[in-house]
C-alpha cells in the first residue's frame, strides 16, 4: 500500500478526537502540576481545598435533586422537560413570599426553627408539585403522540410561561429567603469544618436520593413507573394506568425540586423569578453526565458536576494561568458536558439509549 492510499484511509474525525483528548489530558495534567508543585496562582492551604470540596459536594447535592426530575421524566417519556427548572423556582418563590417571610416577620422562625423549615418545605413541595402536574396535564399530555420535537418546544414555552406568571404574582425584585439564626455559622464534624447549611444540604440531599431510589425499586407505584418507562402498552395490559404513572413521575421529580428549592434558599439566602434557569441547565447537565434516564446516574452526575465545578477552576484553570479562575465555574461545567457528549454520550453509568429506543 502506498503512503497516499494509507492517508486516504485515515478517518480524520478520529484523528481530531484523539488530538482533542490529548490536549484535554495534557491541559489537566499541566494545570494540576503547575498548581500543586510550582505554586501557580493563589496559594491555598489544605483547609481551603476541603472548603472547595465541601461546597462542591453541597452544590452537587442540589444539582442531583433537581437532576432527578429530568432523568425520571426522560425515563418515561423520552422528553427533556425544560420547564423543570421552573418547578424548582415556583417552590422557592411561593414558599418564600407566602410562608417564610410571614413567619420570619412574626419571629416564629427563631422560636420554632425546625417547624419553620418543615412548613416552608411543605409549601415549596406542594407548589412545585402543583405546577408540575398542571404543566403535565395541560401542556404535555395532549402531545403524547406528537413528534418528539413538539413537546420539547412546548417545554421551553411552559418554562417562560411559569417565569412570567411568578414574576406577575410576586414581582421582579430579589427577595431575601429568611434563614433561622441557629443555622448560621460553622460546625465541626469528624474534624472537618462545615458551614452549617452546607452540611444540611449534603445530608438532606443524600437522604432524599436514597429514599427516592428505594421508592422506585421497592414500592408498587415505583415498579409501575419502571414498567411504564420500559413499555407503555405492555404496562397498560398489566392494569397500570399509564397516564397516572406518568403524572406520578412528574410529581415525584417536582417534590425533589421543591426540597432543593428550600435548600437552595438556605445556602444562597435569596430568591427571584428567574432563578430556575441556571440550576435547571446545570441539573440537566448533571443528568446527562450520569446517563439520562438513570436515577443513580443523576445522583452521581450531580455530585460529580458540583465537585468538578468547585475544585476544577482553582486546581486546573489557575494552574494553567487563567485569570479570575473562580469565575469560570460555568465554563468548567459546560466544558465537562461537551466532553461527555463527545467521548461518552451515554453518560457515566448510562446505557446506550439510542440503540435501545430507536
Amino acid at each position: 500500500m502506498t503512503l497516499s492510499q494509507r492517508l486516504r484511509d485515515i478517518d480524520w474525525i478520529d484523528v481530531w478526537l484523539w488530538v482533542f483528548r490529548v490536549v484535554i489530558i495534557l491541559g489537566v495534567v499541566i494545570g494540576i502540576t503547575r498548581k500543586l508543585f510550582f505554586g501557580a496562582g493563589t496559594t491555598y492551604d489544605s483547609s481551603d481545598w476541603i472548603d472547595f470540596f465541601i461546597s462542591g459536594l453541597s452544590q452537587g447535592g442540589l444539582y442531583a435533586l433537581i437532576a432527578l426530575g429530568y432523568t425520571m421524566v426522560y425515563g418515561v417519556l423520552f422528553m427533556i422537560n425544560f420547564a423543570h427548572g421552573e418547578f424548582f423556582m415556583s417552590g422557592a418563590m411561593a414558599s418564600t413570599y407566602l410562608i417564610a417571610s410571614t413567619l420570619a416577620a412574626s419571629g416564629f422562625i427563631n422560636e420554632q426553627p425546625i417547624l419553620y423549615l418543615v412548613l416552608v418545605t411543605v409549601a415549596a413541595v406542594l407548589t412545585s408539585m402543583g405546577v408540575s402536574l398542571l404543566t403535565e396535564r395541560i401542556a404535555y399530555r395532549p402531545l403524547r403522540r406528537a413528534p418528539r420535537l413538539v413537546p420539547l418546544i412546548t417545554a421551553i414555552g411552559a418554562s417562560f410561561f411559569w417565569q412570567y406568571i411568578f414574576r406577575g404574582l410576586f414581582g421582579s425584585a430579589v427577595k431575601a429567603f429568611p434563614v433561622p439564626t441557629i443555622l448560621e455559622g460553622r460546625v465541626n464534624v469528624f474534624g472537618l469544618d462545615f458551614l452549617k447549611v452546607r452540611l444540611i444540604v449534603i445530608i438532606v440531599s443524600i437522604l432524599a436520593l436514597i429514599g427516592l431510589y428505594l421508592f422506585v425499586q421497592k414500592t408498587k407505584t415505583g415498579k409501575s413507573i419502571r414498567a411504564v418507562a420500559e413499555d407503555k402498552d405492555v404496562a397498560a395490559l398489566m392494569g397500570i394506568d399509564v397516564d397516572r404513572a406518568i403524572a406520578t413521575t412528574f410529581a415525584i421529580g417536582a417534590m425533589m425540586a421543591g426540597i432543593a428549592a428550600v435548600l437552595w434558599g438556605l445556602v444562597f439566602k435569596q430568591v427571584i423569578f428567574s432563578m430556575g434557569f441556571v440550576p435547571g441547565i446545570k441539573a440537566f447537565t448533571a443528568a446527562v453526565l450520569g446517563g439520562i434516564g438513570s436515577i443513580p446516574g443523576a445522583a452521581l452526575g450531580g455530585f460529580f458536576l458540583g465537585v468538578i465545578e468547585a475544585v476544577g477552576p482553582p486546581l486546573i484553570l489557575e494552574g494553567l494561568g487563567a485569570p479570575g479562575a473562580h469565575q469560570l465555574k460555568d465554563v468548567t461545567a459546560f466544558l465537562l458536558l461537551v466532553l461527555v457528549l463527545i467521548f461518552r454520550p451515554q453518560g457515566i453509568i448510562g446505557e446506550r439509549l439510542a440503540e435501545k429506543k430507536a
Binding site: K223, S224, A227, D231, L237, M238, I240
Partner: protein
C-alpha cells in the same frame, strides 16, 4: 357453550391503511381458538383491538356481552383479559420476580399472589431458578415462559397469545404449546394468534384464517388441517 369473546364486523385503521376490514369471530368459554395468517394479515391488530390498545373505527369487540371499547386498556386486566404480546414484551430491566408481580398489578390479595407465583414456578421451573435475574438476560424461550407466566398472574379468564412460537427452536415451541394446552385444561379460554399453523391447528378446536385484514375461512381445526388452501399456503403441503 356460552360465547365469551365476540368480534362483530370490526374495522380498524393505521393512519390511512385499512388494517381490519370487517373481522367477525367468536370464542366460546373453555375453547382454544386460533387465528392464523401471514405477515401483515392483521393478526396483531386484531389482538390490539380486543385489548383496547387500538380503537375500532366501526364494529365492536364484546366480552361477555360488554363492549370492550368502553374501557381503557389498563382496565381489562381486572376484566379477566390478559395478553402475551408479540415479541414477548417482558420488562427487560426488571427481575423475573418483579415481572411476575407486575402481572398481578391489579390484584390486592397478597397471599393469593404468592400462591400464584409458586404455581407459575411449578409450571415453569426455569423461572424459579432465575427469579432474581434481570429478565433482559434470559434466553428467548425463557422470556416466552416469563411472558406467559406474567399473563397468568392476573388470573385471566381469557388469554390472548400473539405468536408464542416466534423465534424459538422447535423443541421449545412444543414445550410452549403443551403449556398452552395445560393452561387451557386448568380453565382459561385461549385465543392463539400464530404463523405456525401446523402447531396451532394441533391444539386448537377451531380456527380462523386471516388474509389482508379479512377472515377468508373459518372451520374446526381438523377440517382446516385438511383444507386444500390451508395445506398449500400455511402448512406447505402440495
Amino acid at each position: 357453550m356460552t360465547t365469551m369473546l365476540e368480534l362483530n364486523d370490526v374495522h380498524a385503521y393505521y393512519g390511512k391503511i385499512h388494517a381490519l376490514k370487517g373481522i367477525s369471530l367468536n370464542v366460546a368459554k373453555g375453547e382454544i381458538v386460533t387465528l392464523i395468517g401471514g405477515n401483515g394479515a392483521g393478526k396483531t391488530t386484531t389482538l390490539r383491538t380486543i385489548c383496547a390498545l387500538m380503537r375500532p373505527t366501526s364494529g365492536a369487540a364484546m366480552l361477555n356481552g360488554e363492549n370492550l371499547s368502553n374501557y381503557k386498556a389498563s382496565q381489562l386486566a381486572a376484566k379477566g383479559v390478559a395478553m402475551v404480546p408479540e415479541g414477548r414484551g417482558v420488562f427487560s430491566r426488571m427481575t423475573v420476580l418483579e415481572n411476575l408481580e407486575m402481572g398481578a398489578y391489579h390484584r390486592n390479595d397478597k397471599a393469593g399472589i404468592l400462591e400464584d407465583i409458586e404455581h407459575i414456578y411449578a409450571l415453569f421451573p426455569r423461572l424459579k431458578e432465575r427469579r432474581g435475574q434481570v429478565s433482559g438476560t434470559l434466553s428467548g424461550g425463557e422470556q416466552q415462559m416469563l411472558a406467559m407466566g406474567r399473563a397468568m398472574m392476573s388470573r385471566p379468564s381469557l388469554l390472548l397469545l400473539d405468536e408464542p412460537s416466534m423465534g424459538l427452536a422447535p423443541v421449545l415451541v412444543e414445550a410452549i404449546f403443551s403449556t398452552v394446552e395445560e393452561i387451557n385444561r386448568q380453565g382459561t379460554t385461549i385465543l392463539l394468534v400464530e404463523q405456525n399453523a401446523l402447531m396451532a391447528l394441533q391444539i386448537a378446536s377451531r380456527g380462523y384464517v386471516l388474509q389482508t385484514g379479512e377472515i377468508v375461512l373459518s372451520d374446526s381445526a381438523r377440517a382446516l388441517q385438511r383444507n386444500a388452501m390451508v395445506q398449500k399456503v400455511y402448512l406447505g403441503i402440495e
